[in-house]
């Protein structure tokens, strides 16, 4: 995934389409995350001002949702499913191996809806069934 570089004006341009959206906070944070790969600290006040809501509201939403991140993206986003159906086919040992090999880039997810072809993982947005450390390494940048 390729992300744009954050700037205030680039951020405002992302927010613009949501000006008249009812309940715009989450959807606009998601749009920022898609565009820049994360939500920079200074964006919180910008979003609050833009939609005339409190900073606490924006911060509250930002911290509630697992998908939203306030730190810049790492080179690879490796999401490994650790929910029950994947546990049944060894996702817990896959998770351990991946974290050992790729550290912070690995994040736990609960289910990709690929539960008959587990363990499931997603590398930079690409879903991998019957995942192994080798398949995952091959999909990384």
């Amino acid at each position: 995934m390729k992300y744009a570089t954050w700037s205030k004006s680039a951020g405002l341009a992302v927010l613009e389409p949501f000006r008249d959206e009812p309940g715009p906070v989450l959807i606009s944070l998601q749009a920022l995350q898609r565009e820049f790969g994360y939500i920079p600290a200074e964006a919180v006040a910008i979003v609050a001002n833009f939609f005339n809501v409190s900073r606490a509201d924006v911060h509250g939403v930002l911290t509630f949702y697992e998908d939203l991140s306030s730190s810049p993206p790492l080179p690879n986003e490796i999401h490994v499913c650790i929910a029950e159906a994947c546990q049944a086919v060894g996702s817990r040992s896959l998770e351990k191996a991946l974290k050992l090999a790729h550290g912070e880039q690995v994040r736990d997810v609960f289910c990709f809806g690929n539960c008959a072809l587990g363990p499931a993982a997603m590398v930079n947005g690409v879903l991998i069934g019957r995942a192994t450390p080798e398949k995952i390494a091959a999909a990384m940048k």
């Binding site: 509630f64 029950e84 159906a85 609960f110 809806g113």
Partner: protein
């Protein structure tokens, strides 16, 4: 012959095991041999152990080959697969595969057959009949038909859809909403995703019928962010549906207006709970609302709102086109119609099994599932997602319907059935259930927020063999407090996997010091 029609699923599960490589290889080799082919990216048939499943149209039949890897494609050409030639991976006419032929596909009747975004294919296979009929009926009549069919919510709670619809129909408001719950957070479930990716017009048609019935003009499909392909497919399908007049100002030339859009979740399980979902659509933290008011009276932005699961809405076109009596002729007792079961986990033949309620657990996991992937015996089966109960092979004669599962201390949930072999340790699974609750709790009630963490610690003590008897009693007390003192089913049902594990697998909670190093 120098023209052939080939089907390779575009479903994300098929793609996750190499369907795109297969398409690239077929395209390359066909070009090299100067053979004209058309490759259709159909939805999946839900026969996952055969994915990628390549099908070739041969006369009236569709001859299947699977599972196919990129490397197998040259061999397929040598075997003349474009004429249905024999090959060790050939499964014959796909519809004659006993695993599929035995099923009773109603909601999933079109999934896997065609290009999911072809409106002409949709109509050629029975699409839009329900919507056209609905436009000739009054809202009352549509609601009566849905009530009569016995259709209950497929998202987990099993509430009769018709009653919910009637409440919204009767509510007076300038604006009413429909929200489709496509959050599909339960592990071991994937039917919503497959339907959206494989036959999105059915969901759109079902929602349009519901909109006409209750007088709603705006609809939202809240889809989990872990499903990017489903979100993209649904957005594309909505655009096509608008072009064909299924959505928009005048549905199929009538005076009904209905607009639909997709909202993506953001990685929160509790946002599948309907009121947390409403909060999330309103852009807020996904904190559960107290009821009353019911969403049917005061839902999204305070307006009357029908909330149903993907499968609930998607069952409606068949009910309206063929009538309530045809639908309710299936099933047992008060569980009428068909259920889309999803077989996953450590299973040899996993996938989608749609059949009338009342099939036994054993028929599902041993019959359809064919046992475990690893070949070891089945030790446990979890039914109904992370809040569902763990059963043992002793329960294999259990009838899969709402009432029987409840009576056995479990629940159907969204119909996910997850299989574990003898390697599983149910004390570890029970601890995971508590940890999951601690992570995903919305934080509103103490028993759920803190009880879950305490529960995980207590199970850890049991695992380590400390004061086992006293800790088991403490754990049961804690479960009672969570069941009684939680606002929603997140905290309220987390005890279900825990207690069922203790009851059905007592050995895993005994003598722990012997097994832990």
């Amino acid at each position: 012959m120098n023209f052939a029609k080939v089907f390779v699923p575009g479903d994300s599960a098929a793609v996750s095991v190499g369907a795109d490589d297969v398409v690239a290889e077929i395209t390359r080799l066909a070009k090299a041999a100067d053979i004209q082919i058309e490759i259709v990216r159909n939805g999946t048939r839900g026969v996952f152990w055969l994915e990628p499943l390549v099908e070739v149209q041969v006369g009236e039949k569709r001859i299947g080959y699977g599972p196919i890897k990129g490397d197998d494609v040259a061999g397929l050409f040598e075997a003349q697969f474009l004429k249905g030639g024999s090959h060790e991976l050939c499964i014959g006419n796909v519809e004659d595969l006993p695993w599929l032929a035995k099923q009773d596909r109603v909601t999933f009747r079109r999934v896997g057959l065609n290009d999911p975004l072809s409106m002409s294919d949709y109509e050629a296979h029975g699409g839009l009949i329900g919507l056209r009929r609905a436009l000739k009926l009054s809202g009352e009549e549509i609601v009566a038909e849905v009530l009569e069919s016995g259709l209950r919510g497929r998202g987990g709670a099993g509430f009769p859809a018709g009653i919910k619809w009637r409440t919204v129909l009767d509510a007076q408001s300038d604006l009413k909403y429909l929200c489709c719950n496509a959050d599909e957070g339960d592990s071991g479930t994937f039917a919503d995703r497959i339907l959206i990716e494989g036959d999105p017009f059915t969901l759109i048609e079902g929602m349009a019928i519901a909109a006409i019935a209750v007088g709603a003009t705006q609809g939202i499909v809240y889809t989990r962010s872990e499903y990017p392909t489903a979100i993209a497919k649904l957005n594309a399908a909505i655009a096509i549906a608008c072009e064909h007049g299924l959505l928009g100002k005048n549905i199929l030339g009538s005076n009904f207006e209905f607009n639909l859009k997709v909202r993506s979740g953001a990685g929160s399980y509790v946002c599948g709970e309907e009121t947390a979902m409403l909060e999330s659509i309103e852009g807020k933290r996904g904190v559960v609302r107290s009821k009353p008011p019911l969403p049917a009276i005061s839902g999204l932005f305070g307006k009357p709102t029908v909330i149903n699961n993907v499968l609930t809405f998607s069952s409606v076109p068949a009910i309206i086109s063929e009538g309530a009596s045809a639908y309710k002729s299936r099933g047992v007792g008060r569980s009428l119609g068909t259920q889309v079961f999803q077989l996953g986990g450590n299973v040899k033949c996993g996938g989608i099994v749609e059949t009338g309620f009342g099939i036994t657990l054993g028929e599902l996991v041993s019959g359809y599932g064919g046992g475990t992937l690893t070949g070891k015996p089945i030790k446990a089966v979890q039914i109904g997602g992370p809040l569902g109960a763990y059963f043992s092979p002793k329960n294999f004669d259990l009838s899969m319907d709402y009432e029987s599962l409840l009576a056995a201390g479990g629940m159907l949930g969204h119909g996910g059935v997850v299989i574990f072999d003898t390697e599983v340790d149910l004390a570890i699974q029970a601890k995971f259930a508590m940890e999951f609750c601690a992570i995903e709790s919305c934080g509103k009630c103490t028993p759920c927020r803190l009880g879950s963490t305490r529960g995980a610690e207590t199970i850890q003590e049991i695992i380590e063999g400390h004061n086992v008897a006293a800790n088991k009693k403490l754990l049961l007390d804690l479960c009672e407090v969570m069941t009684d003192g939680s606002l929603c089913a997140m905290g309220g049902l987390t005890p279900m996997p825990v207690k069922s594990a203790m009851i059905n697998f007592p050995g895993d909670f005994e003598n722990r010091s012997a097994v832990t190093k």
